[in-house]
Amino acid sequence: MAEQDWKTNKRVFAAVSLPTLLWTLLFFVIPMAIVWFYSFGENKGLTEIEFSGTLENYKRATEFLYLGIFGKSFAVAALVTLICLIIGFPVAMAITFASEKWRPWLLLGIMLPFWTNLLIRTYALMILLGSQGFANKGLEALWSSASWLKTLVGMQPLPTWEPVQLLFNNFAVVFGLVYVHLPFMVLPLYAALDRLDRSLIEASLDLGAGHFRTIMRIVVPLAAPGIVAGVMITLIPALGAYLTPDLMGGTDSQMIANVIERQFKKANDWPFGAALSFILIYAMFILIALQSMRRKVPEAR
């Protein structure tokens, strides 16, 4: 029995479709539509907003300042995704080829941080990276032992240690986003690698290719859909990230979500904030369209 036509059982169809359709319409489509209309409005007075159909907000969004922030957000999100891919791929490989006994526990180890509150994880990193935190203490210990080694061989000791600023800068934002998004990358990679036909890898190894060559020529191309999925699942939330740049970034590491927030809170320019929100949403759509195009190519062959 395939899918049923809705007309054959209207009563059941109404029962299963009306609650969700009404909910989505009322609490998702309508609120988003209002934001969309706002993006073509302008401020009149402190709380009044006139829907004048102006494109002024979108024009302002293409100013150098805002284009720069969009560009920077993309660059940060892309860098975070790349680092997550490099760190996450070997982890996903290890989980895939782990013994039956270990595999679920390794997966659980990756998923537990993913279930832990985002704010708490960000705060935990802030403790570690603070100017008096353990990261700095560890670096200081390395520094002084290097200094001690130098005196041991009769050279001048290194100058005294100055704490490094690890927090409230761009480094902290990238570090924090990688920390938060790593599970997003590992899980889809694992799902793709797990479906892989292992005999192909064995054949490649038997035919004399080394492990590295096998991974690059066999595993990566076969797992490409999973890699693309992992990249998207990491890139999309990283692009819209608010909390990490807000708490861990400095004055110059604001990402697009922080600028949007400012329009609605401090700057009180809702129409402009609405326009920026929709530009971000359109960017997401473009990314997803690119992904589905990529997916269709191998099927066509």
């Binding site: 029995m1 899918e3 049923q4 809705w6 169809f13 299963v16 479709s17 969700t20 909910w23 989505t24 609490f27 998702f28 609120p31 988003m32 209002i34 934001v35 070997p90 982890v91 490989m93 290890a94 989980i95 080829f97 782990a98 013994s99 270990w102 679920p104 526990w105 390794l106 997966l107 659980l108 998923m111 537990l112 279930w115 832990t116 509150n117 704010l119 708490i120 705060y123 935990a124 990193l125 802030m126 403790i127 008096q132 353990f134 920390y179 790593l182 599970p183 064995e202 190894l205 492990h211 692009l239 608010y242 708490l247 979500a257 949007i260 609605f264 809702w270 929100s277 929709f278 949403i281």
Partner: protein, 281 residues
């Protein structure tokens, strides 16, 4: 350890090579060290998270004696529980609709329902801000728990698509002949749904409930926009504490929430086993 293992390593046992183990170990340290440090320092008898000055429970006393913090935690748990319950119903029903029926504009409906998964939370946050505060003029002075209504509605909106996604992939493995057999034996639509479909969906429902609960408890951005100035959730409160002063009180409150997460995970493990949990993601 790989070096001491008795049987020689098979070519595909990548996880038994030393560098793989070091890599995975380093990643686990990276993921867990900050959380472990946070938990240890919640017992530290010092105002700062730097030097260990002896064991104490006083920050737990302080955190639990902080009425606003406790109220925020109760609010968050109430929101998460109610949002999970309604998301589960809406999500399951939507999954059945998409799985069972063919109807006009199905692609558009399907896409719109899954849209909240990809729309950035900041965009949904501002949408709810405008919708509730400006457009509906939602009253902010209702008595508890009705003052949480706006946040609950917002959370359901972004949680139920995840339930739909999980339940739908589970329904794909359903053998429709079971449904026909039940109908042949005289079961009505409702009886089939209750006695055949729901038992089949059960693992996905548990996974979906866990996902909704954690997503709701996790959310700071949407709650801070959708909630009125007087409704405080746990993440909103912790945010303002982190923003203005980093105190061990936050460590204590965070440790309690991490323990709650571990507890929930343990419950899930007990219900489904570690393999099933791993497979739902």
């Amino acid at each position: 350890m790989a070096i001491f293992s008795r049987t020689p390593r098979a070519p595909l046992e990548y996880s038994r090579t030393l560098w793989m183990r070091l890599w995975v170990g380093a990643v686990m340290v990276f993921l867990y060290a900050p959380l472990v440090v946070l938990m240890i320092f919640s017992f530290n008898d010092s105002k700062r998270n730097v030097v260990w000055r002896g064991f104490t429970f006083k920050y737990y006393d302080k955190a639990l004696g902080n009425d606003v913090l406790v109220e925020a935690l109760v609010n968050s748990l109430t929101i998460a529980a109610l949002a999970t319950l309604i998301s589960l119903i809406l999500g399951a029903v939507a999954a059945v609709m998409l799985w069972r029926f063919r109807f006009p504009l199905k692609g558009a409906v399907d896409g719109t329902i899954s849209l909240p998964i990809i729309v950035p939370e900041i965009c949904m946050g501002v949408a709810f801000l405008i919708f509730f505060a400006k457009w509906l003029e939602w009253p902010t002075d209702l008595i508890w728990p009705f003052n949480l209504g706006a946040i609950i509605i917002a959370h359901i909106t972004f949680c139920f698509p995840f339930v739909t996604m999980v339940v739908r992939s589970r329904l794909a493995t359903f053998n429709r002949e079971q449904e026909e057999a039940a109908k042949d034996l005289g079961a009505g639509e409702w009886a089939v749904f209750r006695d055949v479909l729901i038992p089949h969906m059960r693992p996905a429902l548990i996974a979906g409930a866990l996902l909704s609960f954690t997503l709701s408890l996790d959310d700071f951005v949407i709650a801070s926009f959708a909630g009125g100035p007087d409704t405080i959730t746990f993440p909103v409160k912790v945010y303002s504490m982190v923003r203005f002063s980093v105190t061990p009180e936050v460590n204590a409150a965070s440790t309690l929430l991490i323990l709650l997460t571990i507890l929930l995970t343990a419950v899930a493990l007990k219900l489904q086993g570690v393999k099933a949990i791993a497979e739902t993601h």
